[in-house]
């Protein structure tokens, strides 16, 4: 098992490297850099001026070299600029001093400076991630049990009335993207006519003090979308398991119906949806971007939108790295959990 996890970790690191390289390359395309130079320096810079500005700040180095520096496996640049000033990456663009480190990349914990928030990328990402973590936690708490219950109830008697109505509900909910359901939910629930006293259309206050009033709508908006999907998966898996021969064996052993569902079917039926639930994480991140912007909840997704729209390269890279990492870790957990649920592939 240990070796299995190690191997998976190896693959994960490789994937992370590839993905971050792609993001790094995209954010470091010349037009982006040009825009950066103009916003940081002067909007009326000529092309030559942009060139020297970028050259002095190490942006015109070869892409792999820049990537290496950013990662922290190559020494940070120290450039004596055309303007006579010496700039070092590890001294935040100022002249290097005695105690300036040679390496300063994300491996050393140097995530760089955000140009929008004028703050350390590391600390921005960690606080925002914490806020989004809170949101995600509640989404999971609502979505997973809800989806599993709906799926199991629908799947245990295929074709019954319960099955059909629950299936319809889940198809509708999964066919409605967050930007539609969010708007509808706000329009319906957060109006003075109906429910304004219970629901708020903004979740900004939930950042410090989350309660039912300000947090229910964003949570349910994300949860609904994933819920339908997972419920459909659970239902499909459950109906299949319920027709399996070992369920007939159990029935003809005299096991009662609730026990058949709970003891014999559930575990086998959960194997497939478990992977799906874990695969939902990337999608949730997706939903988080929309919902956080919609409800003005200043979490990770909101930060991503801000970084992207303001060409904040360092922040954008930081956010991407963390997203890649979150996705890969959930996949690892999913693989391990799958092995745990399914004894047939358990490694002895």
């Amino acid at each position: 098992m240990g070796l299995f996890i190690l191997r998976r970790l190896g693959v994960m690191i490789l994937t992370a490297l590839c993905l971050t390289f792609i993001v790094f390359w995209l954010t470091n395309l010349y037009p982006n850099l040009e825009k950066l130079a103009k916003t940081q320096g002067n909007f009326r810079m000529s092309d030559e001026q942009v060139e020297t500005y970028l050259g002095n700040r190490g942006y015109t180095q070869a892409l792999p070299v820049k990537y290496g520096q950013w990662l922290g496996v190559l020494p940070g640049y120290v450039i004596e600029g055309t303007d006579g000033e010496t700039r070092a990456r590890c001294a935040a663009g100022r002249a290097p001093t005695e105690d300036t480190a040679t390496f300063c990349g994300i491996l050393q914990g140097e995530w760089g400076q955000s140009t929008v928030f004028k703050d350390e990328v590391g600390s921005i990402v960690s606080t925002r991630l914490g806020l989004t973590g809170k949101l995600m936690f509640w989404v999971m708490m609502v979505m997973v049990p809800g989806a599993l219950i709906i799926g199991v109830l629908a799947g245990m008697r295929e074709g019954s009335r319960t099955d059909r109505s629950l299936s319809t509900v889940s198809i509708v909910s999964t066919a409605t993207p967050e930007y539609v359901s969010g708007v509808i939910l706000i329009a319906v629930f957060a109006t003075p006519l109906f429910g304004m006293q219970y629901f708020k259309g903004t979740a900004t206050s939930a950042m410090d003090d989350a309660n039912f009033n300000n947090f229910f709508l964003p949570v349910i908006t994300i949860a609904l979308y994933g819920m339908g999907y997972i419920a459909r998966m659970t239902r499909a898996s459950m109906t299949e398991v319920m027709t399996a021969q070992y369920i007939r064996t159990a029935r003809l052993k005299g096991v009662s119906f609730p026990n058949i569902v709970m003891k014999h079917a559930l575990r086998n039926a959960l194997i497939a949806p478990f992977t799906v639930i874990m695969l939902q994480f990337p999608w949730l991140l997706n939903g988080v971007v929309i919902v956080e912007t919609l409800f003005n909840y200043k979490g990770f997704g909101w930060t991503l939108v801000q970084a992207a729209s303001n060409n904040d390269i360092e922040l954008l890279l930081g956010v991407s790295v963390v997203s890649v990492f979150v996705v890969l870790v959930t996949q690892l957990i999913s693989d391990i959990g799958y092995v745990f649920l399914n004894p047939r592939i358990r490694i002895s």
Partner: protein, 701 residues
Amino acid sequence: MDYDLRNDAYDGPILEIDKLSISFFTRLREIPAVMDFSAKIMPGEALGIVGESGCGKSTVALGVMQDLGVNGRIVGGSIKFKGRDLNTMTQEELRDIRGSQIAMIYQEPMASLNPAMRIGKQLMEVPMIHEGVSEKDAYDRALEVVTDVKLPDPARILNSFPHQLSGGQQQRIVIAMALMSKPSLLILDEPTTALDVTVEAAVVDLVKDLGKKYGTSMLFISHNLGLVLETCDRICVMYSGEAVERGSIEDVFDEMQHPYTQALFRSIPLPGADKNARPLVAIPGNFPLPHERPSGCNFGPRCDYFEAGRCDVGNIAMRPIPGNDRHESRCLRFEEIDWNAPIDVGPQTAKPEPGRVVLKMDNLKKYYEVAASALFGGKNKKVVKANETLSFEAREAETLAIVGESGCGKSTFAKVLMGLETATDGQILLDNQNIESTPIEARDTKTVADVQMVFQNPFDTLNPSMTVGRQIIRALEIFKIGNTDDDRRNRMLELLDLVKLPRAFADRMPRQLSGGQKQRVGIARAFAGGARIVVADEPVSALDVSVQAAVTDLLMEIQRNEKTTLLFISHDLSIVRYLSDRVMVMYLGHVVELGTTEQVFSPPYHPYTEALLSAVPIADTSVKKKHIVLDGDIPSAMNPPSGCPFQTRCHWKDRAGKSLCETQVPPMRILDGGHQVKCHLSDEDLANMEPVIEMPATAAE
């Protein structure tokens, strides 16, 4: 009216089925699956239900269990269990009976065990539900029953998951599960179909012993007449939803009174007899679909004794046969038919003499390297020795049978011959040309067309979205036969004639064909390029008994006319005896015996052949058989035993010298007449072997 069903004092019939009718309801119509079925099982008695697939025998079992699904319904008659009608019971009452009073053993042991639950838990559940015993007591009971079903190391087994056991062990667990609450009635639905012959013999033995030990009544469902003969006291033959004949084993086997029973017996080969002593007679026509049953007698259209105007009108009732005990037949004419008339067989064409050597295998070896775990990869490579020093010759127009149980390497050998795999060592000579290391992609068209295969499962080997004719033409195109499309179309129609399918079938889709017809298409495809060597990998084992004979005969007839070399791979010794000239017995990749059919089927045997022969159930009451039951399972080819591959299960090991068998692979010895045996036994021991199957003198006339 509230009987205590556990009351041991009850001494009436355990199960009494009276005029039971079961139908399945689809959107289109009602499909009657079982009609007018009656049976009675007394305490301790075993009733066998025999019939082909689709005859309704499993539906009867599920009807007894009252578990017919949403579409099935009992539309008439009653099922009484210990005097109480099961039809009128509530779900709770039924649940109480299921598992504790009536238990069931299923066809596929792997599928009927919960893959995500430990064996122990699945077993313990039964007494915990029905008797409310504590977990500890249930565990002790489970341990005891698992010991009873002769599984080694019960504690370890209880703690394992189903996939960690072999097929035979799984079936023993299913049996153990059925016996956990000491039921009064045990329903066995084709319990050994998925198992190998020697494992089957051991399981059947076990069921018989346990039945005696616990005094359980049994309802044994099977398509195998021989098995029913070995296990049951009474038999009921079913055809197309109806019982056509029932009675005691002796009455039905020796004095059958229904044309279907007779036809069924005549269409199965017996391992004691070859084709001259007892030719096979195929039942003409096809099994009627449930909604296309003829009026009158269901068997009418296929019956030799059919009388128009009499057999095809009205319902035909079961009538008792005077003089026999509870022996009944659903035939209007049973008094009139001369049941002892000799079998009417068409003209038998003489078998052509085997010609020159076409195919020669010399010391063929095929090893597979497998990583211990796909996830770990790398280091712990293990070698599976699928074929070990295979040497034989096959001549033109000869049938060489390759016999062995699953995992013996017979399919690997076929793959190497076909070029789907390349050999590790040794050579295959086709017309003195080496082909062992030429994969199929690199073979020329001629070689590919020369060596063809008929596959085991006709249901999977035809492309479901291509017409039958198109599939055969495709083969012709690949083999570069015929110059124009018209040429090929004509050739295709000729091939359909060859396999005795109507030419109109060329435009049909595979789903419109029955299993036997599909297999005929498979045969036509194999012979499309004028194949000289045909490898038939269990070509009839997926087919129904009545169709098997027809397909077998067809294969032999084509072989005779085309002078094809037929390599017939099978685990069914009866059919091998029937059609082959020479037999090769394989065990764990080794050829253990090779000789002409007579040599292999008579002593001296290799100990494995002896056990294999003894394991075959024979549907003939007059045959005496030596009883040899092999212990344990076939060892894994990944981890074969040292020395002789068969030494772990051999009954003769003490005679030949234990240490010798355990350390050395025996050499291939050549006995009289080129009969080869791979065994350490002395000449004297071999000479003193007794025949396993003894035919009565009268049968050989």
